[in-house]
Every structure is written in structure tokens, then in C-alpha cells.
Amino acid sequence: SQQGEEDPQALSIQEGENATMNCSYKTSINNLQWYRQNSGRGLVHLILIRSNEREKHSGRLRVTLDTSKKSSSLLITASRAADTASYFCATDVPTGFQKLVFGTGTRLLVSP
């Protein structure tokens, strides 16, 4: 079963607006990662936040992590049409197998 669930499943905004996606997970983690998938393409790693971090920035991306609530959020500021994609959270679970468990994804549509 999937560890993470993203919310909302789909999000539609205008260029220039901010987009916020949330991820909830079930078990303890080493780190949490966000990936983007453009239509017809493979997933691309965006940003990683360790379990002992609470916030991280990378360009227009801001990720927060609340381990007490087992949740994370991804904020994309000043969105662009090129940000249109599906976004997945993935948890690195301390099982010793170094594998990621991916969530269900949020489909983001940014209209010009």
C-alpha cells in the first residue's frame, strides 16, 4: 500500500499565483522527497527534506515537514505555465532497503 497521500488530487491556478500541495504519510521516515512528472515523462527529483529539518527552500520551492503530524507541504511561488505537471511526495522509510514509497500525486494545472 502507498505510504503517502497527496492533497488535493488536482489543483488549477492562474500564472503568478502560489500553489500548495500537501502530503501525509504513515510511518517514521529518514527523509521526504518531492518529485515532478511532466506528461509522458519520468519523475524528476525536486527537493529533499530530512526528518530533522522543518523547512527547506530551493528557488521558488518551499517545503515544510511536520513529523509530529506526519505531513509535508510543497509550495510553489509565482507559478508559471511550465510548472504544469504532477507532483509526488516520496518517503525514505528506515527499513534498511533504501527504497522510496511514493504517494498518489497532485496534478497541477497552471493557466496563462
Binding site: Y35, R41, G42, L43, A90, Q98, K99, L100, V101, G105
Partner: protein, 114 residues
């Protein structure tokens, strides 16, 4: 610009035929993953290799699927015999067992079984 490559990119085959998908991981990476993505099930982990040894293939239907790494530069996923329900996009990803376990995905093989 190191990247994971997958062949073929598209495959259409008839039910009952054997399908072989290939993946070349990024040079130096010692973990390889096979995923299947469908609209209904999302992204599912099928198999996982570390240093070419299979560590976890619990997500893979054993009766028809097999995954191997004949050498460090090639991973294969075979389906024999294929069925229409196998239609999906199959992704290969590679990474490092050490460190933060980021994964680098290939472009995928879109499989259609008629």
C-alpha cells in the same frame, strides 16, 4: 549529462507474447528500481536491486514477470506471457545505496498489450 536510459520507449504487442524492457542506469549508481505506473494504481514498485542483487521483488507478479541485472550497466524486466492488464508505463530508476537515496528516473517504456 548522466541519465537513465530505457528501451524501447514504446511497445505494442499481442497478448501471450514475451516483452523485454531494458534499462541502463547512471554509471556508478548501485541501486536500480523498476516501477509500473497506471492511472488506477499509480506508481508501484516492482523490483529493487542493490549491487546487482535482487533485494525486493515482492511487488512483482512472479508467475509472468522476471527482473535481472546481467551486469552493472544493464537491467532487464521481462513479461512472459504478456496480458492486456500489463498495459502501463514501466519506469526504471537508479540511485546510490549510500546517502540520501534520491532516485533518477528514465523516460519510461509505454507498453500496450492487445
Amino acid at each position: 549529462d548522466a541519465r537513465v536510459t530505457q528501451t524501447p520507449r514504446h511497445k505494442v504487442t499481442e497478448m501471450g507474447q514475451e516483452v523485454t524492457m531494458r534499462c541502463q542506469p547512471i554509471l556508478g549508481h548501485n541501486t536500480v528500481f523498476w516501477y509500473r505506473q497506471t492511472m488506477m494504481q499509480g506508481l508501484e514498485l516492482l523490483a529493487y536491486f542493490r549491487n546487482r542483487a535482487p533485494l525486493d521483488d515482492s511487488g512483482m507478479p512472479k508467475d509472468r514477470f522476471s527482473a535481472e541485472m546481467p551486469d552493472a550497466t544493464l537491467a532487464t524486466l521481462k513479461i512472459q506471457p504478456s496480458e492486456p492488464r500489463d498495459s502501463a508505463v514501466y519506469f526504471c530508476a537508479s540511485g546510490l545505496a549510500q546517502g540520501l537515496h534520491e532516485q533518477y528516473f528514465g523516460p519510461g517504456t509505454r507498453l500496450t498489450v492487445t
